[in-house]
Structures are given as structure tokens and as C-alpha cells.
């Protein structure tokens, strides 16, 4: 008798589609090698290598783990541990612009929830989602060092502070 199917196949449930096989570009490979050269142990370049992939592709595709881990001399599992530990390494595709709304205690006290609600209504998405046109992804972020000017958020690398439900729409709309 064959083993009854007691486990759910992850791949089937998450609706992963067949992607083209991942190939590291020469450029990526070269830059990762450069990063590795900074450290006595290649493993130390894990975050740097993931950032290099993300800078070029917007996120870190599944297929990148194996070849990058190989360059670092570690298993894909260890690299995935690093990739998933850091919330700003994206393991799913994100929109052209990532809106990171600070939900730390200070921002929470001075109006985070209103900002969040306004964005949700305006963009039609909530945290962890991407607009259908691929323009915005919304994510929570815990403290961006602007507690005195909260509520605050970041769009890509830009910091925006002293937000109100009235000004926040205009701020994100500036990003096409």
C-alpha cells in the first residue's frame, strides 16, 4: 500500500506558476564576488548578495537561492533563513514602488491607523498586497527613526513624515 497523502503539497497550494529557470547574470555574479571579497568568510556576504539580486530584479526569486548559496558556500536553506528573516528582502514580487508605513509605538500613538486606512482606501490594498497595476506594494515597517515627526512612512528610499489623512494620498501619488 502506498503512503496516504497526509501532507498538503506546498507548491500546489501557493499556486506557483512555472517560471523560466533562474540564471545569474554575469553582472550579478561579478558584484556578488566583489561583495564576498570583503569578508574572511563568504557567508558574511549573504545579505549583500541578496540585496544585489533585489536591486536588479525588485525581489529575490526562488531560483536565485541555490546559485547564490553555492557562491557563498552555504546551503539554500541557510540563505533562505537570512532572506526571510529580513522583512526588506522581498521573497515575492513587489510593485514598482514599496510604501512602508511605520507602525511602531510612536507612530501608532500619533495616527498610524488613520494613515493606514486612508492608504488602504485609496490604493485598494492592504499590507502585503500589490495593486493590480503593479504600481504599489504596501508593507508595515517598525520604526524608521522619525518618531518626532510621526506618523511617518517611506516610499522606496524616500522618508515622508508629519503625515495626515489629507496629505498622504498626494505623497504616494507623486510616485508613478
Amino acid at each position: 500500500m502506498s503512503t496516504p497523502e497526509t501532507v498538503v503539497k506546498l507548491a500546489e497550494l501557493t499556486g506557483k506558476t512555472q517560471e523560466a529557470p533562474f540564471v545569474l547574470t554575469d553582472d550579478e555574479r561579478h558584484e556578488i564576488e566583489h561583495e564576498i571579497a570583503h569578508y574572511p568568510d563568504a557567508r558574511a556576504a549573504s545579505i549583500g548578495a541578496l540585496k544585489i539580486i533585489q536591486a536588479r530584479r525588485g525581489w529575490v526569486p526562488d531560483g536565485a537561492l541555490e546559485p547564490v548559496a553555492k557562491m557563498l558556500g552555504i546551503g539554500a536553506a541557510e540563505l533562505e533563513g537570512v532572506a526571510t528573516f529580513y522583512s526588506l528582502i522581498y521573497r515575492k514580487p513587489v510593485g514598482r514602488h514599496v510604501v512602508k508605513v511605520c507602525d511602531s509605538i510612536t507612530c501608532f500613538m500619533v495616527g498610524y491607523e488613520d494613515i493606514k486606512k486612508t492608504l488602504e482606501q485609496h490604493l485598494g490594498i492592504t499590507h502585503g498586497q500589490t495593486t493590480a497595476d503593479g504600481r504599489f506594494t504596501m508593507l508595515p515597517i517598525c520604526c524608521i527613526g522619525a518618531c518626532d515627526k510621526g506618523p511617518a512612512l517611506m516610499v522606496d528610499d524616500d522618508l515622508h513624515h508629519d503625515l495626515t489623512p489629507d496629505n498622504v494620498v498626494g505623497i504616494v501619488e507623486a510616485y508613478k
Binding site: V8, K9, L10, G75, E80, F85
Partner: protein, 898 residues
């Protein structure tokens, strides 16, 4: 020593321990999750909180984690402190906010550390009212079930799998309250030691999938102290039975051998005993007969023979082999090993028993600070040694910690100090091995060249050992590096064995160990052997197998009794066929259907290691007793399988052997080297408080209904005349005390401790020897200085042209072992048969995808595996695989395109 004060009482403890370990050593219970005796402390779970006081006058105190606090002199702590108790209850509740509380359907239930700790902390009502986070699970292959929702994020699994066992394909993902333990992608766990996850995990995230389909709670299984039959290490195991089937094999702690961990072949390879097509009734010419009829026929054959000879077995017990030898006489008793393998085992015995360096225990291997593995892939041939060598390599972390005055239980500090550094491990073998990832250097060469390397190392260590003529520069440099590392080590360790099939390799290993021993008394040595009882058989001094086959083929003997042995695994098919063709009567006693049982006129069904009692001798020369787990006849009176020695005792009625003690005693008296086997475990008359020791937990249920399908009345439980164990929950079960001899511990259980963590209750000190001494009796008393071996072989020369290739045996963890490879989950994990060929030789052999291999006239077609590591001029065949011909050492094969 340090004096600590716990709840107003004063105790003397080892000041090098942490408080948790010190308190557990004292028998005081503190709940814990992330700490494990083999893994050290990380302070991740916060469960082991106690109140610490500055001194006896401090009444305030503060909460500390006992696993992260040294048990230093003058420590005042309270476990019973109300605030500490409340803190611990809060922690377990917090850890379980996302736990599904699915104990009734969870396979961990009943031997679950989380259950035990929850009860201990008295967390019995939960206040979390919100949605629980849930996870998707992964299919981790045929061995391990995965149920992440049960996880309490203690991190023990990754600390074991990655840090301890060197696995790379299990990781931890995410952070904070959103943490997932699994593979980067769904798929089979690669480590050969993955099964230990089921015992390391404190809850039901990782469970034994082989047990799952025929599941029984721990308290409802019957157990016996048993010995793993999958290799010569002799790990102690605790198999559990229900309804006449072995349902699971768990680790049985041994302070000098397996400790807390087994390999996957040993843990998951038990399925052969449950096979439906096993011989369970006597057969005459393939037809089922009664035992009396079969015995009558066998007696008739033996009495009517012109000459009876017998072939023993390295996978049968000492008692079975001795009974056979007694029946036919020592001169007619032949080795069950292949002829050359028998020679190798004899040589190993000579080196380990008679030489100046006795075999190193597995635990002692973990303390080595330089290791040379010569000629073996120990992950396949003696897997538990490979796990120990991994600890030896990591042991440098302890030394670095010691320099920095950091305690050795500070697991994170040790890892931070160590980074990727390690003590030197050298692996010299015929092809790549599963230990190469920790090797400082690897050497790939034919056995002759491995031996030459070894002799050269020995010569560098002691110039009076033979020099190697004509050594090339590269090998000389390798030898120098190895010799320097071994000479610089405080505890150098040499591991070799019969795996390479070469006497010269083992002799070279012996020379190295002996040369080191002269300078360093802490030198270690271990030689792996082909099978679980190779030494036990060799010590009965059987005649070489080739002589038996020759005697049969020539007609000098006409009747053959074969004990638990498939002759087709021991000699070329043509040779066995020629011998058996001349045999008038063939009697085979075995528990497994083999090509030999298929040829037999009379088959007497033997008990497997799980169904019978016997003694086996491991690689150290340690005699260990395995006990019958259950009596098959209880479920089906027609079943006839009994221990081979019992069949032979009946055939040899004059022997007067009635019970195990009779034959063990007779063997101990008759064979001087085996005198110690009677002390492997207490005899049948042993009692505690007048009671036999119960095989079943005292909560065993459903016994009255077990046979209700056959008859309503409950029959009497089987009587066990052979051992001090009873087939019952009645008897001594350790509830009133914990003083059973270690060799008689069927399973681990202590009041309040249902999980495998309960082993800690039976140790002299946590992670140390078992109370009353670790099981087994060392038979080797220690040898004397020997003269060096002097036969340095000539270098291997590949034939270079034509289709001739030297065949090298490749050992694999799964698929090569005769018995475990019949278990379905192991078959799923094993590769198919193949022939490995060096990349440089592909063109010469003209192979392309498939190859036709011809050895000793046997022709097989096999898929080719192109190896970048195999020496040129050789081909590798997976040893012991079905579909791969028997190959004697040094034999050439012709290989051509398939």
C-alpha cells in the same frame, strides 16, 4: 565541585555545569525546551526560569534562566518560588498560544516533552482567544512527518540538524512570532541522521512517518532492550511492537555508544521483520509443514549424510553460530563472511584485540582533536561513528571557549568562536564520502595507494615502521600533512575497517595508531566491520567460506546447513551455483527469504533480532544482548519462527540446551575469548523485588481484546523462560525506583517524563553513563605492543587500455545492507544500482548512459554514473545492492558500452 543552595537545601554539584543541568543531575525537576544535553544551552525558550538570590539574606531575588546560569559555588536559587512558578506557567502558555492542542490526533502524544512540561508547570487552562497562526507543511520524504502548527519555536531541530549533524537542507525562516522550520523547498531530508529530529523535537512537528501508517501510542506498545543489526557499531535501540508487528524503533540511550542518536538506516530499516513473505513456517521443498515434520526431515538428512558441513552468519547471534558449530564440529564449521571479508575480520580482531590500541568508544571519538579516516565511508559502513567524528571536528569550539573562559554549554558562544574552524579531519577513501564536507583534506585513490599513504604516515610518525618505496611527491606531502596533524593532536583518532576490502589498508591504519600510541597514550583507533556480529562469528574461528564451497563442489561434503545467510551475497554466483548443484541436502535456517532459502530442501524459520534473544559482539569487542520484543505465537499459534539457536538445540538434543542461559553459558565455557558473554546482561533468574521486568508500560491497554477476533477468552500471556523480562505490563516497571540494570531497560519512562528526555533520569550524570554502568561486556582485555605490519603493497597501476577495470566496492548508507534494504521506506531512499566510472575512462570503456559489466562470468547491465573522484582505471559498484554481482577484492571487471 561547587556548593549550591536550592530551596534552602545544600547540594554539591559540578561547578562547570549550568544550573539546569546541575539541578536535573540532582533529580530536581525544572521544565525546559530548548536545552538538550547534547546540544547545550541557548536560552531561547525561557522555560527553565528559577529565582536566583544574591546570598542567604536576599529575600527579593531575581528571575534567571537556569540553563544560562553557571552552577557556581555559593549560588542560592529557588525552583519553588511562587514568582518563578508563575513565570514558568506564563511561558508555557505563551509558547503554546499558536499550538493547536491537537494531542488526541498527534503522534507525539504520550511521549511528548511538551505535554510533560505543560503538566509539570501546571498550565491547564488557556486564555488566548484569538486566531492561531497556521502553516503549510512539507513532504520531507519517507521518514519524517511534518506538522509545523505544533511548533513552539525552540530551535532544537535546526541546532541538531545543522550544527550537530552537519545537514544543510533544514533551516529556519522568518522571525519573531512568524517562524517556520523546514526545507527551503519541499523534498526529502538529505542527512542520514534525520530521524533523530523525531526525538529532538519536543513536540509533534517532526514525527516518525514509518510509524504513522500503523500507529500505536507509546504506552500501548511492548518493548525490549535491543541492538541494531544494521552495522557493527551495535547501537542500543528500543523497538516497539503491537499486534505482532514492529511499529517503531527508538533510541535506547547508551553512554559509550549511541548516546541520544541513531542513524536513519537503523531507525527506519526495521520493516524487513514485518514482511508478509518472510519464512514464518517450516518448508520442505517450498511446501509448508509442521515443525516436527521439518525437524524430522532435517534430522534424516543429517543422519543420512556422508559428510555434513555448516556455514555460519555474521548477522546471527553468537549463540546461533555456536550451536551450529557444536552440531557439526569446529572443523566443519565455516565462515559466513565472504572469504576475503573473513580474512579482514580476523585481521581486525588481531589488531583491536591483541594490539596495544583498543577500539575507541563512540563517545570518546567525540573528544578526538585530529581524525584520519582511512579507506572507509563511515557514514555508510558505521554511520554513528560519522556523527561522532562531526562532533570531534566541532570540538575545537570547546577548546576555543576554554581559552576564553567560556563554559562549554554556551552553544551560541561556541559557534561564534568556532565559525567555520574545526579540528583536522582527513578522509582518504576510494571515492567521495559523506564526510568530505568536514574534511581538511581528502585523498581519492585505489586501496593499494590508500595503504601506501597510510604506511607513509606511520613511517613519518615512527621511522622504525616500514618505509614506502617510490612514493610520489604529492602523496608524500599528503602523508606529511596528516602525520603532522596527528602528531600535534592531544587525542588523535584513526578509523579504518573492512570497507575498502583491503588488508593492507587496515594494516597501515594499525601501524599509524601503534606509532602514535608509543608517543601518546590517548591515541584512538576503530575498525569498522561488515556486519553486526562479525566479531562474534570470527571468535568462533570458522574455516574460510571458500573451503566449504570447494568441499561441496568436489563432493567431499554432501549436506549443508546454512545459518541466516544468503550465500549469493558471499561468493560469485557461478561458484555458489556449482557448490549447491552438488549438495544432496540443503537446510537453511533464516528469517528472510533469500536466494539461498529458495534453493533449500528444508527451511527452518528463524526469529529476527526483534523476535529472539541472543548476544552480538560489536566493533569494540563489546558483547551485547538483544531481547525478544514479542512472541509471534501469541497472535497466531501456527507461527513457527524461533531463534536459530533454538532450532539447533532441538536438532542437537544431546546438547541439553533448554534456555538461552544454557547455550550462552556453554559457549562462554567452550570458547575462551567469549567467556564474558554471560555478563552481557543479567540471566533469566534475575529479579527485582522478586519480579521480572515488564516489557509493557504499566498503562498498556486493550490486551484483553487483542485476540478477540480468534477467541473471546483471554489466553495466558506467553512465558519467557530465557530472560528476566515478562511479556506483560505486570512486573517491575521502574515506577517505584529507577534502578533497573541498563541492559534490561526496554524503554524509557519515568514518573512525569514520558518523552525520550526521560533517559536523563537513568544516567549517573546527565549525558553520561547509565546507572549501574552502560550495557554490554567488553570481551577484549587489552593487548600488547605488536610488531609493525611490513607488507607495503605496490602502487595500483591501471591497465590503461582495453576494457579491464579494477572493481572497487562503494558503500552507501541506504540500499546495501541486506536486511534494512528490504524495508519499504529504505527502498524509497536508496538509489538504484549503478556502475561508477572515472570521467577519464569513459572513452576507453565506451560507455554511454549504460554499461555492461562482466565480473567472474556474471554479466549485468547497469546505468553509469560518471565520477570526478574515482581513481582512473577503476569502476565502483555499490556494495550489497540487489542487481549488482558479488565482487571479491582485487577482481577486475570488463566494462563496455551498454
Amino acid at each position: 565541585m561547587a556548593t549550591i543552595h536550592v530551596d534552602g537545601k545544600q547540594y554539591d554539584v559540578d561547578g562547570a555545569d549550568n544550573l539546569l543541568q546541575a539541578c536535573l543531575n540532582l533529580g530536581l525537576d525544572i521544565p525546559y525546551f530548548c536545552w538538550h544535553p547534547a546540544l547545550g544551552s541557548v536560552g531561547a525558550c525561557r522555560q527553565c526560569a528559577v529565582k536566583s538570590f544574591r546570598d542567604e539574606n536576599d529575600k527579593m531575588g531575581r528571575i534567571v534562566m537556569s540553563c544560562m546560569t553557571p552552577a557556581s559555588n555559593g549560588t542560592y536559587i529557588s525552583i519553588d518560588d511562587e514568582e518563578a512558578k508563575a513565570f514558568r506557567a506564563t511561558i508555557v502558555e505563551f509558547l503554546m498560544t499558536n499550538h493547536p492542542h491537537d494531542c488526541p490526533v498527534c503522534e507525539e502524544g504520550g511521549h511528548c516533552h511538551l505535554q510533560d512540561m505543560t503538566v509539570m508547570t501546571q498550565h491547564h487552562s488557556r486564555s488566548y482567544r484569538f486566531t492561531k497562526r497556521t502553516h503549510l507543511n512539507q513532504d520531507l520524504g519517507p521518514f519524517i512527518g511534518h506538522e509545523m502548527n505544533r511548533c513552539i519555536s525552540c530551535y532544537r531541530c535546526v541546532r541538531y540538524y545543522k550544527d550537530y549533524a552537519g545537514g544543510t537542507d533544514l533551516g529556519v525562516y522568518g522571525s519573531a512570532a512568524n517562524v517556520y522550520f523546514g526545507r527551503a523547498e519541499e523534498g526529502t531530508l538529505e542527512s542520514e541522521f534525520s530521524g533523530n529530529l523525531t526525538e529532538v523535537c519536543p513536540t509533534g512537528v517532526f514525527t516518525d512517518k514509518t510509524h504513522s501508517e500503523r500507529y500505536t501510542r507509546k504506552w500501548d506498545m511492548q518493548y525490549a532492550p535491543s541492538i541494531c543489526a544494521s552495522c557493527s557499531v551495535g547501537c542500543n535501540v528500543s523497538p516497539g511492537e503491537r499486534y505482532g508487528e514492529i511499529r517503531r524503533v527508538e533510541n535506547r540511550y547508551h553512554g559509550e555508544l549511541n548516546g541520544y542518536f541513531l542513524c536513519d538506516r537503523g531507525r527506519f530499516g526495521y520493516g524487513y521483520t514485518n514482511l508478509k513473505d518472510r519464512p514464518r513456517h517450516p518448508l520442505i521443498d517450498g511446501a509448508t509443514v509442521t515443525s516436527d515434520v521439518a525437524l524430522g526431515a532435517a534430522r534424516g538428512m543429517i543422519n543420512g549424510a556422508s559428510k555434513v558441513i555448516a556455514i555460519g552468519s555474521p548477522r546471527a547471534s553468537v549463540e546461533a553460530n555456536y550451536a551450529l558449530r557444536t552440531m557439526v564440529g569446529a572443523a566443519s564449521f565455516y565462515d559466513g563472511h565472504a572469504t576475503q571479508e573473513g580474512e579482514l575480520v580476523k585481521l581486525a580482531l588481531q589488531i583491536v584485540r591483541d594490539g596495544p590500541v583498543p577500539a575507541t568508544t563512540i563517545t570518546a571519538m567525540e573528544d578526538a582533536d585530529a581524525v584520519l579516516v582511512l579507506g572507509e565511508d563511515i557514514t555508510a559502513t558505521a554511520p554513528r561513528m560519522a556523527l561522532a567524528v562531526r562532533q570531534a571536528a566541532r570540538g575545537k569550539g570547546r577548546a576555543l571557549a576554554d581559552e576564553k573562559k567560556v563554559s562549554d554549554w554556551q552553544a551560541i558562544s561556541l559557534a561564534d568562536l568556532l565559525q567555520r574552524d574545526s579540528y583536522p579531519v582527513f578522509v582518504a577513501s576510494v571515492d567521495s564520502t559523506r564526510l568530505d564536507d568536514i574534511a581538511h583534506a581528502t585523498v581519492r585513490a585505489a586501496p593499494e595507494d590508500l595503504a601506501r599513504l597510510g604506511f607513509a604516515v606511520a613511517n613519518l610518525l615512527d621511522a622504525s615502521s616500514p618505509a614506502v618505496a617510490g612514493l610520489d611527491e604529492a602523496t608524500a606531502a599528503q602523508a606529511k600533512a596528516i602525520a603532522d596533524a596527528l602528531a600535534a593532536a592531544k587525542k588523535p583518532l584513526i578509523i579504518s575497517g573492512t570497507g575498502a576490502g583491503s588488508t593492507a589498508v587496515m594494516q597501515a591504519a594499525a601501524n599509524i595508531a601503534w606509532a602514535l600510541k608509543a608517543k601518546n597514550d590517548a591515541t584512538g583507533l576503530a575498525l569498522t566491520l561488515p556486519e553486526a556480529n562479525s566479531y562474534g562469528l570470527a571468535m568462533l574461528e570458522p574455516q574460510p567460506l571458500a573451503d566449504a564451497l570447494e568441499a561441496l563442489a568436489s563432493g567431499a561434503a554432501d549436506t549443508l546447513v546454512v545459518l541466516e545467510n544468503d550465500l549469493y551475497r558471499r561468493a560469485p554466483k557461478a561458484v555458489v551455483d556449482a557448490a549447491l548443484a552438488k549438495v544432496k541436502s540443503l537446510i537453511v535456517i533464516d528469517h528472510t527469504a533469500t536466494d539461498a532459502t529458495a534453493r533449500a530442501q528444508v527451511v527452518l524459520p528463524a526469529a529476527t533480532v526483534f523476535e529472539g534473544d541472543g548476544t552480538v559482539v560489536n566493533y569494540e569487542g563489546r558483547a551485547q544482548r538483544h531481547f525478544q520484543v514479542y512472541d509471534p505465537k501469541y497472535y497466531d499459534a501456527s507461527l513457527a519462527q524461533v531463534e536459530s539457536w533454538r532450532w539447533l538445540a532441538v536438532l542437537e538434543a544431546a546438547s541439553g540446551w533448554k534456555i538461552l542461559d544454557d547455550i550462552t553459558g556453554a559457549c562462554a565455557t567452550a570458547v575462551s575469548g567469549l567467556a564474558g558473554i554471560v555478563d552481557a546482561a543479567p540471566g533469566a533468574a534475575f529479579r527485582i523485588d522478586g519480579l521480572k521486568i515488564a516489557r509493557e508500560p504499566h498503562r498498556y491497554s486493550g490486551r484483553t481484546a487483542m485476540r478477540a477476533n480468534q477467541a473471546v477468552s483471554e489466553i495466558r500471556q506467553p512465558v519467557d523462560p530465557d530472560t528476566p523480562l515478562s511479556f506483560s505490563m505486570e512486573g517491575y516497571n521502574g515506577v517505584g525506583g529507577l534502578d533497573r540494570p541498563a541492559a534490561l531497560m526496554p524503554y524509557a519512562w519515568a514518573p512525569g517524563w514520558n518523552s525520550p528526555q526521560s533517559w536523563n533520569k537513568f544516567q549517573q550524570e546527565i549525558g553520561g553513563h547509565l546507572r549501574g554502568g552502560d550495557p554490554g561486556k567488553l570481551l577484549f582485555a587489552g593487548g600488547a605492543t605488536q610488531a609493525y605490519f611490513t607488507d607495503v603493497p605496490a602502487a595500483f597501476t591501471p591497465s590503461g587500455s582495453g576494457s579491464g577495470f579494477r572493481v572497487l566496492p562503494l558503500h552507501l548508507h541506504f540500499g546495501g545492507d541486506e536486511l534494512s534494504s528490504r524495508a519499504e521506506p529504505i527502498r524509497e531512499r536508496a538509489s538504484t544500482a549503478f556502475v561508477a566510472i572515472a570521467r577519464a575512462d569513459v572513452a576507453r570503456a565506451g560507455v554511454n548512459g549504460h554499461a555492461t559489466v562482466s565480473v567472474d562470468g556474471e554479466l549485468v547491465q547497469l546505468p553509469t554514473f560518471i565520477s570526478d573522484t574515482l581513481p582512473a582505471g577503476t569502476v565502483g559498484l555499490p556494495a550489497g545492492f540487489a542487481g549488482v554481482p558479488f565482487v571479491a577484492y582485487g577482481v577486475d571487471a570488463t566494462v563496455s558500452g551498454g
